[in-house]
């Protein structure tokens, strides 16, 4: 790999041994993937995936303390994934005690993040790219981010350039100010290996479609045709919200870091089918294929007929439009069934800035009346508690389903369970 004089000096220890090891890690990481050079990080803010003071991750916190002690702080402010704990989310006393033990390093870790460069106390969300949070890169920006759902959104919807970095590596990029140039940072790496032909009659659930594509293409880049029939050709709020959830499922059910939507996402609009590699494979998706994928999810509840104990919606965190839309849907569903409150304890998760904006609307009080709780928590981390892991949780998030024992239902099915059936 060719390094500039400044980069070589960092590697040679000009700014100390710890910074040299940071640079050495980044260079070796790049060399594995044939990086030809290191390039500067160009967007304003970073984004970190590690938001939880998980007791077991002691080695990571020791490493971060070393960075702080040796003055290797991030050269840019950053946002961070959601917090793992919120007293508003239902937990029994035993679950609370275990959560405290599991996330025993939370306070200490948040203090480390303040020193390393977190933007502010409201910066804990996986949807850092939403306008309310303000970590929204421009097309062509080079990022040092982790969090698979944020990376795939930044690459695909915003046209920024970021690899699917691991936690720690993303902070190292913000500390050194450079990232290795390979993969999704290159023009060639952004070309599509797959053509996905969507043949459904209506718009599929975002997280089911994303799951099907993720499981098929794994880490490859798909070029999706036929989705703009339903989403249109402008990246309006509806389209962006859909793609947020769609992308999270492609990234967690597979390892997709970039997708193109024909006629909609920026690079597909500019370059069209020139983005598709020669001999790209084809994956046709119709209603039957989506049903096959949905039926393939194992139900890992001890008793599959058990009544749900908790419902999480908002993984990734909900947008303001989603909070308002779900408020209306839940109200209407309850009204039709003659019920006043949701029949399953339910938590909608969103970022603090979006929750604050939601509280300014009439819908916040209306949602509260239905019994739904709104929280900034990371549902995935809630379920990392061994006692919560065995709970019968339902969700329409395919990301949450993948990483936990929660059970996936479509948005429509969830609404029925919450408002009419209770199971």
């Amino acid at each position: 790999m060719e390094l500039t004089k400044e980069q070589q000096a960092l590697l040679d220890g000009e700014k100390g041994e710890t910074m040299a090891k940071v640079m050495q890690t980044l260079v070796r990481y790049g060399e594995v993937f044939g990086a030809d050079k290191m390039v500067p990080v160009t967007n304003e803010y970073g984004h970190l995936v590690l938001s939880f003071g998980l007791t077991f991750l002691g080695p990571v916190f020791d490493l971060y303390q070393k960075l702080i002690d040796d003055g290797c702080l991030a050269g840019q402010k950053f946002t961070c994934d959601p917090r793992p704990y919120d007293p508003k989310v239902p937990q029994n006393p035993l679950q609370k005690a275990v959560a405290k033990a599991v996330f025993g390093k939370q306070k200490k870790y948040e203090a480390q993040l303040e020193k390393l460069g977190i933007l502010n106390d409201d910066s804990y969300t996986c949807t850092c790219y939403l306008d309310e949070i303000g970590n929204t890169p421009k097309q062509g920006d080079v990022l040092s981010w982790a969090e698979s759902s944020a990376v795939v959104y930044a690459n695909s919807v915003l046209g920024a350039r970021c690899n699917r970095n691991s936690g720690i590596i993303e902070l190292f990029g913000s500390v050194a100010g450079y990232v290795p140039h390979f993969g999704l940072l290159t023009d060639e790496g952004r070309k599509a290996d797959w053509i996905v032909e969507l043949k459904t009659e209506s718009l599929p659930d975002a997280q089911l479609l994303g799951s099907a594509i993720g499981m098929k293409v794994m880490e490859d880049v798909p070029y999706v045709k036929g989705l703009d029939r339903f989403l249109g050709n402008e990246l309006d709020d509806k389209a962006k919200t859909y793609l947020k959830d769609f992308g999270a499922a492609t990234a967690s059910n597979g390892a997709v870091g970039l997708y193109h939507i024909d006629g909609l996402t920026p690079e597909a609009k500019e370059q069209g089918e020139a983005l598709i590699k020669e001999n790209a494979k084809v994956y046709v998706i119709d209603e039957a294929e989506l049903q096959r994928v949905k039926d393939s999810y194992p139900c890992i509840w001890k008793n599959p007929d058990a009544k749900p104990q908790l419902c999480f919606l908002g993984c990734p965190h909900m947008t303001l439009e989603q909070l308002i839309d779900w408020t209306k849907k839940v109200e209407a569903g309850l009204r039709e069934a003659g019920n006043e409150k949701v029949l399953v304890p339910t938590v909608f998760t969103s970022s603090m800035p979006v929750i604050k904006a939601f509280r300014q609307t009439e819908y916040a009080a209306r949602l509260e009346k239905t019994g739904v709780v709104v929280s900034y928590i990371c549902p995935l981390m809630y379920m990392d508690n061994p006692l919560c892991k065995t709970m019968n949780v339902i969700t329409s998030s395919n990301k949450l389903r993948t990483y936990t024992s929660s059970r996936y239902y479509s948005n429509e099915e969830i609404l029925n369970i919450l408002t009419k059936e209770g199971k």
């Binding site: 077991f56 080695p59 880490e219 061994p386």
Partner: protein, 146 residues
């Protein structure tokens, strides 16, 4: 029966261990998220029938690639530093960015070693079975003894 495969060294080291094999992508977070309460790291990813409930700690984990959350590399690094990791990772395909991060972070920053070799080829993963005796050399040679 002894069969030898040659791969590319991502993190150098010598080790001998028993094989545990997955033909599916290895979801690091989903598989290893309970390691901190387990005496020996055991796979808790229900979506991976090849590995579910099997011991991973101290084993030669043979896999095509890792998939899933970008906490993956961090989990691997913590597992290595805490002595909870597999003895080595042996990839049939090109290593993915999350596993590579975990491998290199461990090699540069950890006191413990976890050799990692990739590009061992599809025939490696077709051949190797759970329980095979695996020896990894510094130059990326992997010997499978059955």
């Amino acid at each position: 029966m002894l069969k030898t495969f040659q791969g590319r060294v991502i993190a150098p080291g010598k080790v001998t261990a028993e094989a545990v094999v997955t033909k599916n992508g290895f979801n690091t977070l989903a598989s290893m998220q309970m390691m901190f309460i387990q005496p020996k790291t055991r796979c808790v990813d229900q979506s991976n029938p090849d590995l579910y409930n099997k011991i991973l700690g101290g084993k030669a984990l043979c896999l095509p690639q890792t998939i899933g959350s970008t906490t993956g590399g961090m989990f691997l690094f913590s597992a290595v530093e805490s002595g909870k990791a597999p003895a080595c990772l042996l990839f049939s395909k090109d290593i993915d960015s999350l596993a590579a991060a975990g491998a290199i972070l461990s090699d540069v920053w950890s006191k413990n070693s976890m050799p990692v070799v990739d590009r061992l080829g599809d025939e490696f993963l077709d051949f190797v079975q759970d329980g095979d005796r695996i020896s990894v050399k510094e130059d990326g040679t992997v010997m499978v003894l059955r």
